[in-house]
Symmetry: C2
Subunit: 420 residues, 2 copies
């Protein structure tokens, strides 16, 4: 471990403490879940704002519920280098996905402030309000508002309780009409850097602490449904059944088989049978499909194979297939200059040849890339486990990330990103 990393263990300990503190802000007493525009979201924003202020940042919550903080550069009003991640979670989440990146960004801003550095740009930290899409099914709502790629149809999205997004904004104390004020003009930004746990095992396999991200995989998400005919579980012979759940089950198995064959990543995370009586043949099954690949063409080819499998199953079982796309993000390459900046950061920790990975997970950079270039620093997580309470990071890796992320920020300063 380099002496710089060693010295950053104090920052790492504080970051990990704060991850624990944020993990307690949950809408469930026995596991972590904190969704967009919930009371827990407000509480988390307040905690983060306090830590931002301690680090010397001026703070505000933008019109999309993103918590922001700003440290001016060598003169007030300069374009800003954005640092950040998100603070919403999946259900039964781990405590580092998103939050670690927010707290690392605050720590680095604090170190810049403490060192009295005068940067040729402002530093801004953003804690994005919605990256996971847990509540409304559509992801990246916070970063899309910032990037000016908001779609007004989203106002009618509703959560499981039937609350629409526009109602949720109002309940949270936000004025939907003011949403456009969250948009950041490209000329006000230098770029976006995000640190995040890898959520995969490749850094661990390579026995490294960190990696530089090359691109973010393209992802598409669907709500799929198979419709057959409900009937009495006792009285209906198999040759007359149109059991939607058995058909859906065949398709779930096919998604795995086809994804492996095509070198893509397909996951069914939700599944429910209707009407749901223990003694009733399911007349309908609704389930999700999350499909990713490094290259969009591979992802879409796998989707075509999945559709063929669905057609075969439906023809054989007398079922009907419907598919609703709820999310689509094509693969996004990281900015070449900012990738090099992150690599420079990693080298400063003593890792001479930084590991390069593409991100199989989506991140806020996908949205932010519409308005400014971005790059990412990945941090090793134990066993590659994420979206699970067992998510875990090592303090030494977090210290290395602090050093690398700060060095990356300083490397941006040397590159004069203020002149396009």
């Amino acid at each position: 471990m380099s002496s710089a990393v060693d010295a950053a263990l104090i920052d790492a300990a504080l970051i990990l403490d704060r991850c624990d503190e944020l993990a307690a802000v949950s809408s469930s007493p026995d596991h972590l879940v904190r969704v967009h525009l919930s009371p827990e979201h407000a509480a988390a924003n307040a905690l983060v704002a306090g830590w931002m202020a301690e680090a010397g940042l001026s703070t505000w919550q933008d019109a999309a519920g993103n918590q922001c903080g700003r440290l001016e550069g060598e003169m007030p009003g300069l374009p800003a280098l954005l640092l950040g991640s998100h603070i919403d979670t999946v259900p039964d989440a781990g405590r580092y996905d998103g939050m670690l990146g927010v707290l690392l960004a605050i720590a680095v801003a604090g170190r810049v402030r403490d060192a009295g550095l005068r940067l040729p740009f402002a530093l801004e930290v953003v804690a994005f309000s919605d990256e996971e899409g847990t509540r409304f099914g559509t992801a990246l709502l916070g970063s899309r508002a910032l990037a000016g790629t908001w779609n007004d149809q989203w106002w009618n999205l509703s959560d499981a309780a039937g609350i629409t997004l526009v109602e949720a904004f109002q309940d949270f104390g936000l004025d939907p009409a003011r949403l456009p004020s969250a948009f950041r003009r490209p000329e006000s930004l230098v770029g976006y850097l995000e640190a995040h746990i890898e959520q995969g095992p490749f850094i661990e396999d390579a026995d490294r602490s960190l990696a530089v991200v090359t691109s973010i995989a393209g992802a598409r998400r669907f709500t799929l449904a198979l419709t057959g005919h409900a009937g009495h579980a006792g009285g209906t012979p198999y040759d007359r059944r149109r059991d939607a759940l058995v058909g859906a089950s065949e398709l779930v198995v096919a998604v795995e088989r086809l994804s492996i064959a095509d070198g893509t990543i397909g996951t069914v995370g939700r599944m429910q049978a209707f009407p749901g009586g223990v003694n009733v043949i399911p007349g309908r099954a609704e389930f999700s499909l999350d499909l990713r690949a490094e290259h969009d063409a591979d992802r879409d080819e796998c989707l075509a194979h999945i559709r063929s499998a669905a057609a075969e199953i439906c023809a054989r079982r007398g079922l009907e297939y419907t598919e609703t796309e709820i999310y689509r993000a094509d693969a996004v390459p990281c900015d070449a200059d900012l990738r090099e900046v992150v690599a420079t950061g990693i080298r400063s920790t003593g890792d001479a040849e930084p590991l390069e990975l593409y991100s199989r997970a989506g991140h806020d950079g996908v949205a932010v890339s519409a308005v400014t270039g971005f790059a990412m620093l990945f941090v090793r997580c134990a066993g590659g486990v994420s979206h699970h309470p067992d998510e875990s990071v090592r303090a030494a890796d977090v210290a290395a990330a602090v050093v690398a992320f700060e060095a990356a920020v300083l490397a941006v300063a040397e590159r004069d990103f203020t002149q396009p």
Copy 2:
């Protein structure tokens, strides 16, 4: 059509009207669902009590919420021949499953009263409060109370809203401590006759209106769960996944394959993946299994095969299997004398050689058999469709059922069931 059946078309029309009227008593505006001890259950009991009173029966609601009516025989206080069925429903139900049998029984009691017949037993009509088990997962609660086979552990069963059975009794205005008063002593009963739609296609296939039931299939119901490990849908490679839903899906497909191979009837009616995030590998899948066969040994052999399949899937996928039995009823033969009585009833409609069927569905007779003999009359239903809003019967078949059911009651009178 015999002239007696022709004349009974008026009764049939009234019965079908009343089925429509009961179908409107639903806790959902757009489909029929009426569960045990709900406000709709109380409203349905009140409707049924009114119709019983019109037919000349004295009425009461027993301590289990069963709606009862009694027509005395040639002298007051004689043992009773029970006629009836249930008035609770599955979710998104049809309007004949259960209700048709209750209304047929009231019609027949009314015809006996109108004819001024003096029977050597009382006639009692019972509208059982819970046969489906929709609300609390455990079926036949009404008939088990009547048969004295109540299990006090059931008081702690809870519905989807967390309301326990004991609380539901109190909310309904019933005193749980009085439950034993619903028990009917064997010496107070002559037998139990139930008319019910077939819920299968075999009467239709044979081009008949009615059938006599030989036995009720043994059924076992389980809540099954597979537990793996939740994880990020993007970051976790397939060789490290422990996806509970893909495993469960394989098992759902295996249940169908093994049930067909073993000549049994296995159905998965419920399925849910947890934590349920669209971008999270399911760490747990919970689903139901309903398993029936004419003979218990066949059913249990199929269960052993399903368990073997689960063990293979779990070993291969790193999952854990748990199985909770929530219902078990062994196959129950109908009483031989009462079967002959029902056959006599069917013959009176002009069908010289009544079709015999075993019931693949469970019925209240399973519970009532603990305290008195029972037999059943099945009525054709269109396409064998049941547990679905498309459930439908023909008026002519209902008229035939009125004639057959009345003739069966009179045949009981000729057999002197009052002397054991």
